[in-house]
């Protein structure tokens, strides 16, 4: 906001009671969402008359966003003012897009999901307020609980039977392991705050202190990864590994963790290609999808057709042909989005995700406590990793890992876990500005 008044800084810090920047952005996002729903209603009118639910869902969602904003304003939070509007846009656009997919006859799984979308802004606001009121000490003491959940969730899913990618096919929340993502950020932040200074230490026999600190972090981190490996949830392991690398880089100041870690990951993938035939099939599907049009390359090929069909400006909201894209509600939703809103619209969507990720680094830079800074950095990393894995997989930049796009893909657990992530970001930013 560049109105030049000295009373309000460009960073959106509020002077006084009302969070006006947030409100303005929120209204702007709301207009986008309403317009998207109205466009869909034109199509509904061709098939049937409008139902009360057709208005109710967007109205409820936008009112909870507004309620979250009012909550934050009334309780005088100094939290970052861009996170909630961004979340409003993502959630609202996702809701409208899933609604639009339903008009093409693509099945919508359950109504509970809509409820989760509607509740998400409130959850975010409440987590932020809780963090602000109760402070970080409370959060750090909670880290043992979060590790327990990180260990427990995949174990429960594994014992519970349906062991593929943490899916249990319950009502609404199909992948409970999604919650591991924010919890592992909290757990690692606590762990690294305690052991961080020893990681760089040269004390002890051959740097024993440093070795012990490394081992502690690695062992605690890697045990749940074995459980995910048993579930063949490769995307989850990649996400957590990258988060570990980035947080270790952040706490020690050594970029070599990131460099060696990523090259190790590529090396591991390369050797897996040679030893595990299933991985080779995946790799073939990624590198040469057009040679296997009916087999392994089918999904990615049809996703690329959709993207290609979008041309520059897109086919228009509701103008695409999502019916022919496989898994269009979940993994490949971005292919349909790119087809309908074109390259500028896609740029806006990726831009919002990446903006939030970059913003979290700015939030981290304003922290005095390392624990809070680590949480912000971890949340930011989670956002860009998840975006990269999903969108990169759809456009054939990287192999497909089956990771949902938060708030855009159908997936209640992913939406819930990301409302926790946004809540953590908001809370941490509020602490720094107190």
């Amino acid at each position: 906001m560049t109105d030049g008044k000295p009373a309000r800084s460009r960073r959106g810090k509020t002077i006084g009671r009302w969070r006006l920047d947030e409100l303005k952005l929120l209204l702007s996002a709301g207009v986008c969402v309403i317009w998207a729903f109205l466009l869909s209603h034109v199509y509904v009118l061709k098939q049937r008359s409008l139902d009360v639910r057709d208005y109710l869902v967007p109205a409820l969602f936008l009112s909870t966003c507004l309620a979250a904003h009012l909550l934050l304003s009334i309780l005088k939070t100094h939290a970052d003012q861009t996170v909630l509007p961004a979340m409003t846009f993502l959630g609202g656009f996702g809701l409208a897009f899933q609604y639009r997919l339903g008009l093409s006859g693509i099945e919508w799984q359950s109504g509970l999901m809509t409820v989760i979308w509607i509740a998400a802004p409130l959850i975010t606001a409440l987590i932020a307020l809780a963090l602000q009121w109760m402070g970080l000490t409370w959060m750090r003491s909670l880290s043992r609980v979060s590790w327990a959940v990180v260990y427990g969730l995949p174990l429960v899913v594994l014992i519970g039977g349906n062991a593929f990618r943490g899916a249990t096919f319950g009502p609404g929340m199909t992948t409970p392991t999604e919650f591991v993502k924010p919890l592992v950020v909290i757990g690692l932040a606590a762990l690294l705050t305690t052991h961080g200074k020893h990681l760089n230490s040269k004390k002890g026999f051959f740097g024993f202190e440093s070795i012990r600190a490394h081992l502690t972090v690695l062992v605690i981190w890697s045990i749940p990864q074995l459980l995910f490996l048993a579930q063949r949830d490769l995307g989850m392991i990649v996400i957590q590994f990258l988060i570990l690398l980035i947080m270790m880089t952040a706490v020690t100041g050594r970029v070599r963790y990131l460099l060696t870690g990523v090259s190790g990951m590529i090396l591991a993938g390369w050797s897996a290609v040679h030893f595990v035939s299933r991985v080779r099939v995946r790799l073939d599907a990624w590198l040469t999808p057009f040679e296997h049009p009916d087999g392994s390359g089918y999904q990615i090929m049809h996703a690329l057709f959709a993207v290609f069909n979008g041309e520059f400006l897109g086919r228009g909201f509701g103008g695409g042909v999502p019916n022919v894209i496989p898994l269009v509600r979940t993994d490949f939703v971005y292919a349909s989005v790119a087809e309908e809103i074109g390259l500028p619209g896609s740029a806006a969507l990726i831009g919002i995700f990446m903006y939030l990720a970059a913003r979290s680094c700015r939030i981290a830079a304003g922290q005095r406590e390392p624990f809070a800074a680590l949480i912000a950095i971890g949340c930011g990393a989670l956002i860009w990793i998840q975006t990269l894995l999903n969108i990169g997989g759809v456009i054939k930049l990287i192999p497909m890992t089956g990771v949902p796009l938060p708030f855009i893909s159908q997936g209640g657990s992913a939406a819930l876990s990301f409302s926790i992530v946004f809540g953590l970001l908001l809370g941490v930013s509020a602490i720094s500005r107190r």
């Binding site: 906001m1 560049t2 800084s9 460009r10 960073r11 959106g12 303005k24 952005l25 702007s28 207009v31 317009w35 998207a36 109205l38 466009l39 034109v42 861009t82 846009f89 952040a250 100041g253 999808p289 057009f290 040679e291 049009p293 049809h302 690329l304 057709f305 993207v307 290609f308 069909n309 979008g310 041309e311 520059f312 400006l313 228009g316 103008g319 022919v324 074109g342 390259l343 619209g345 896609s346 740029a347 806006a348 969507l349 831009g351 919002i352 995700f353 903006y355 990720a357 970059a358 680094c361 700015r362 830079a365 950095i377 930011g380 956002i383 990269l388 969108i391 456009i395 054939k396 930049l397």
Partner: protein, 525 residues
Amino acid sequence: MDRSVLLDPASALHWIGSLFLLVLILHFTWRLVANAAPTQPIKSPLIRRLGRIPLILFLLILAYQARWQLAGFMDPDFLAAQRGFDPRGDLVGNRFHRGEILDVHGKPLAQDVRMQQGLSRSYALGGRAVHLIGYHDAVYGATGLERELDDILMARRMSGWRDAVRLLGSLFVHRTLHGHPVHLTLAEEFQAATADLLGGKPGAIVVIDPRDGSVLAMVSCPSFDPQGMTPDRVRRLREDADSPFLNRALQGLYPPGSTFKVLDVMLAFEHGIAPEFTCSHEGFYCGPADPVLHDFEHDSRGGQFGGHGRIGLETAFEKSCNVYFANLAERLGSRNLMDAARRAGFDRPIVPVNRGPSSMSGRLPNRDDLHIARTVRVAIGQDAVLVTPMHLAMLAAAVASGGTMFQPRYLLEEKPIPYRYLTDSNVAEKVAQLMVRVVESGTGRAAAVDGVVVGGKTGTAENATGQSHALFIGFAPWPQPTIAFAIVLEQGGQGGRVAAPIAGALVRAARDLGVLTRERFHDGR
């Protein structure tokens, strides 16, 4: 966005509405990002670096998406798959139409037809022109002219600013893309008739216009139907011992056999000699350690052959007397022979005008000063001399056109270009007259056609791995030849008995289909 929706008022309204949504989304994103314009730089260099990762990823993802969304049609594999498998193509008209391949009269030889799902390439001549035209398949890629002319057929070629503007426009609206058609120099009926002459036996025929190098027919046998390629069929074709995928006309290397004698008599005329030699049935004796060179009749007729006796150049050429040409080769020397072979382009690939498939490079002995035993074998087209049927057709064309070869041309739009100079027109005319006599009264009598003066030379090339290859090169009608051709029948037997009748049938087909009266530099317009 699809422009056809503008015809429907409701859709037009929706289109404008969608565009407005795009504006709203961009406006929101802009305000969001502008709100975060940094006033204070981040102090920690590490966090600043970590914060740069999302920006880099944003650019990377967007660039890679644009590579599909805008420029996907530049990726041949992607476009082939999209044409073949994208079911939405017919719904929104966003399907790329590959240009047609047309014959000289504008009849389509290869064109897109709408199938149940996607577009499929249909070939009018099927297997009868598959080696020249090739095929274009979503899975198996492209071969032949389909591959060589891919950038024209896919409208990717840029010649001039108009094409550049079109290409730039098609980045944003793909529907403006429509491939260019190409006009070939061959005629559909003549190509079909030529293909039927081989009767399924392994071999090749190349017919070119000696006046401008236009390729009038090119056939390789055995062939296959380019339509309906399935993995199973492709595997069977690949395992077939007769290699149906091989284009024998351009990639098959054969010893030229007695057709090489055309170069021998050319050298004799150039040196102004027409000696007489005594050719007994004992053959030509090179040295105590070397094999004796015999006439063909020595083996085939055995005891009944008494040798050709004392004969001159004309009779020797008519009867294709090996012993005579061995004597002549001794007189001419291997350097001259190799020089003539190189002038005929036997040591290199035959490259067409601008675009189209090239032949393989011919092979010659790797040194010029050959021992006499090898020299005499080169003179009768054996030893290490290997050429493609295309090379032989070019040799026939050079003789027919007065000593100058024209570069093969597949496309009507290409201008004829003189390629190589073989010999001067007097010599060429003398050689051609000898070839006419071969058909009138020599080994090539089976190639004679009523009312058309045909010239030619038979060849029977010894083959180390089996029966001899039967060859025939020739031209018609003398004295103003409009076609020159080479016929090779793999392990077919004796050239005069097997290949010459096919040559006769070829000339008859050319006469009946009006190819012999074809205009020079015909460009079809």
